[in-house]
């Protein structure tokens, strides 16, 4: 079954969507979209590092995104300029450094477009196992820290006052983002990873009354986007990563429209 590249892509895509979307809800709630972007952009440097050290691109990406994400957490706290400026500087700097370093490594031939925008043909049998293993690990960890992380997202002081180890929970959360970036890179690409984190989450907002529902809906919408995107890609021979993002965007537009109509009908039912 795993011999078919389409089946491999579907399994990997569904696995990524199931964890990236609930994790992405926190990115939306904490207004960290740019943080996710910056972390993802550092992944290219991770690819170079992985090839240089010989640990392979996926592990290299994981190590590099962890380092950059933790550095960002510290840097954002001590920086004298606004955090979006810090992220804007580092996001482009890390992407450019990655491109430059790869250019120096003349002895390896890297499929740059594949890393930047994803390459569904490059998802091999081993990648499927890595994605599924990573997804299960992220899901288990996320469920373990779910309540304290939601509490820290709502109010850090309140969570801390009542005994939540906010710093530890937030470090684990950043590590989970790094894992998700590493496992979704092959499918959607470095430049598009954040979209899978935030678009389904944003689409799920309108239908959700609790954080848990938003996480579950977002995972569902993410799976729909991946399946629709991959099918479209197979049908019309479009690039897989961007097709998934376009599908997610259409799901977002549709759900925003439905939520708007739902809101208006409810308001007119109540307000008479």
């Amino acid at each position: 079954m795993l011999d078919d590249f389409f089946v491999r892509a579907v399994i990997a895509g569904v696995g990524v969507a199931l964890v990236a979307c609930p994790l992405g809800c926190f990115i939306v709630w904490r207004r960290m979209a740019y943080f996710g972007d910056t972390t993802a952009h550092a992944a290219l440097l991770g690819v170079a590092l992985g090839l240089l050290v010989g640990i392979g691109p996926t592990l290299g990406v994981f190590v590099m995104t962890v380092i950059v994400a933790l550095l960002l957490v510290v840097l954002l706290r001590v920086a004298r300029v606004a955090s979006d400026t810090v992220l804007g500087i580092l996001s482009h700097a890390s992407l450019s450094i990655g491109l430059v370093v790869l250019a120096f490594m003349t002895w390896v031939r890297v499929d740059l477009i594949g890393y930047l925008f994803g390459d569904v043909l490059a998802v091999g049998r081993a990648d499927v196992y890595v994605v599924l293993g990573g997804a299960v690990a992220v899901l288990v960890a996320l469920m373990a820290i779910w309540r304290p992380l939601v509490a820290a997202t709502v109010d850090r002081d309140l969570a801390r006052a009542e005994g939540v180890n906010v710093a530890a929970v937030e470090v684990i959360y950043v590590l989970l983002i790094a894992v998700v970036v590493a496992i979704s890179m092959k499918l959607v690409g470095i430049l598009l990873v954040t979209s899978l984190l935030i678009i389904p989450a944003a689409a799920a907002r309108g239908f959700s009354s609790t954080p848990e529902r938003m996480a579950i809906f977002s995972a569902g919408l993410g799976v729909v986007s991946v399946l629709a995107g991959l099918s479209a890609s197979a049908e019309w021979d479009t690039p897989a990563g961007p097709s998934i993002v376009v599908a997610a965007f259409l799901v977002f537009i549709l759900s925003a429209g439905i939520a708007l109509v739902y809101d208006m009908t409810r308001r007119s039912a109540h307000g008479n």
Partner: protein, 284 residues
Amino acid sequence: MNDVAVPDPIARPANTAPAKPVPAEILLACRGLGVRRGGRWLIHGVDLDVGRGEIVSIVGPNGGGKTTLIKTLLGIERATSGQVTRRAGLRVGYVPQRLAVDRTMPLSVERLMRLVRRAPSADIKAALEETGVPHLLDRPVQALSGGEFQRVLIARALLGRPDILVLDEPVQSVDFSGQVDLYRLIASLREEHGCGVLMVSHDLHVVMRATDRVLCLAGHVCCTGAPGDVSRSPEYTRLFGPVASETLAIYAHKHDHAHAPSGEVVPVHDHDHRHGHDNPARGD
């Protein structure tokens, strides 16, 4: 049939009963507490005790370090000097002024009640019932008014069966009649739950009438003592009306020093300055 009187193991022999009431169990205390940030002492040398069943109000000017003090007592901020002691296993219920919940975060009141720990629905309803807002259960928190939010937050804190309730300016964003009701509620919680209450008052002179002790904080503890009766002060009765005098009290500050614009402490009595602070600004 057995008519032999068995001595009640719980009843204490009369001669060993304590002669005077045991002092209230200290829940939370600090000694010489100081917090220094950015080269400036936000608070320093603060001593404070809160006992079980006791209500302590903190008053003081803006920037006087009221919020810093409670955040340090709660372990949110780290102390630079001095120490905080908590009774072992102390359960704290923290009631912030308001939560800045992002619009993107769907959060109903019911879910907010389960923010830090799980709770059965019946307990949640009972807690909201107690603070008078059971109808808000399904409301998104972003749609609550200031007073509703405070009552929900108090109910949430009560769910954890706290030994001590810590409230940060609980009535600040509440209209006046709502303030009186809210103070009444807080006072009743001490009776119902026997917990200690530590709260920051947003007014420099007016505190909740049930307050046992007031602490005036302007970086350091300026003065501390019991609040006076608001009804004894015609000025306040005229201002707040007779109903308010049942829930509010005034605090007469007895400062033995004044504050220079820099925040430095200067003595107010003018016969004393020769052996008092060596103040170069005076130039004598």
